[in-house]
Amino acid sequence: MIPARLCRFPAPLPYGEAVDLQKELVQLRIADRIPDTFLLLQHPPVITLGRRGRREHLLVSESRLREAGIDLHHSARGGDVTYHAPGQWVLYPILKLSTAEMGTHGYLHALESVAINTAKAAGVDAFRREGMAGAWCGQGKFAAVGFAFTRWVSWHGLSINVNLELSGFDLIVGCGLVNQPVTSLEKALPSGNTLDLDAVGDEITRQIESVFQRSLHPVSSGNAKEFRCQL
C-alpha cells in the first residue's frame, strides 16, 4: 500500500480556507514535496457552483442566502451546484493519479465506491445510477462528486450526507438534476435510528484505505494553519 496522509478536521472549515489549503497542497504534491494527502472535513453552510454551475440552479437570491447565514462560492471543480453544511463529511483527496492502482474505472468510480461502501457499512443499501454520478439509495442521492485535476493531481472531491439538516438543498437544484431527491444516510435508515458522525468518519477512513489502497498516516490539526505547520 502506498503511504498517504489523512488530515481530519474536528471543526467545520470555511470553504474559502479549504480551497486555499488545497491549492497549496496541490502545488506541493506536484513538486513531490508531500505524499498523497486526504482532507476529511465539514464546511459551515455554503453553496458552491462548479465551473459550469448554472445560476438558475440557485433558487434564491444572494441576499436571502446571506440572511440565512449561507455563503456562496464559485469553485474550480467540475460539476454543477451543491450544498455543504455540518453533518456532511467532505473528502478532498490530493492524489497523483497516474499510478497503477487506478485501473480502468478511474477516479470518479473510486470516489463513488468510498461513498457506497461507507453507506453499506452504516446499514444503507447504496448504489450507482447509470449516467448520474454520485451515490444513491432508495430515498435519493446522499453523496455528490465534483473534482478537478491540476497536472493530474486531484483536488475537490466527494461529499457524503450523514445527518445534516437537508433544508439547505431546497435552495438549489442539486447537481443540476431536476426532481431528484437529496437525502442523508440517517434519513435512509428506519425512523428513530441515528448515526454518529465521528463513527461514519472512521468508516470513510477505512474505505479510503481499501478503495485507494493507501495506508493512512493520520495528522491531527485543529485548523488549516496548524496543519500547514506540519507540512
Binding site: 459550469r52 467540475g78 460539476g79 480502468t104 478511474g106 477516479y107 478537478a148 485535476f149 491540476t150
Partner: protein, 127 residues
C-alpha cells in the same frame, strides 16, 4: 488502452503528432477515460504564443475539470473548433477527431524532449 506508437507524449497526458513543421496536440486515451464524458472544452486563441507547460486549454466532464498544457513552446496556429459543439469527439476518438490544437513550435528540436510511447506506457496503469 490505445497507445499509438507514432506519437510523442507528455507527463501530463497530452499526445503530440509531428506533421511537417507543425505539431498536432490532443489528450491521450488514458486522460479521456479518467475524465469520463466530456461536456465542455475551452481552447486557446489562434495566434497566441505559449510556453512549454503553460495551461492552454481546459476540458470538463460532468464531474471533473482538467487543465491541458502546452507540450513545447510555440504559437497556436489552429484549434479544433468542432469540439466546441461536440466535445464528446475527445472521448470517442482521442487520437483522431478529438485533437485539440496545432502548434508551430519555436524550436522543432524541443520535440526531442517529449516522451516516447514506451516511456509514457510506464506512467499509466496496466489494464
Amino acid at each position: 488502452m490505445n497507445l499509438p506508437q507514432d506519437l510523442k507524449y507528455t507527463e501530463t497526458h497530452e499526445w503530440v503528432r509531428v506533421e511537417d513543421n507543425l505539431l498536432r496536440v490532443g489528450i491521450t486515451d488514458f486522460a479521456q477515460s479518467q475524465l469520463a464524458d466530456l461536456t465542455f472544452v475551452d481552447l486557446p486563441e489562434v495566434g497566441s504564443d505559449v510556453e512549454s507547460g503553460d495551461e492552454v486549454a481546459v476540458v470538463e466532464s460532468v464531474k471533473a475539470a482538467s487543465d491541458i498544457y502546452a507540450p513545447v513552446s510555440g504559437s497556436v496556429v489552429e484549434v479544433n473548433e468542432a469540439l466546441l459543439s461536440a466535445p464528446e469527439a475527445i472521448n470517442n476518438d482521442p487520437f483522431g477527431e478529438g485533437w485539440l490544437f496545432i502548434l508551430k513550435p519555436s524550436d522543432m528540436a524541443s520535440v526531442a524532449s517529449l516522451m516516447e510511447p514506451a516511456a509514457y506506457q510506464e506512467l499509466i496503469p496496466a489494464e
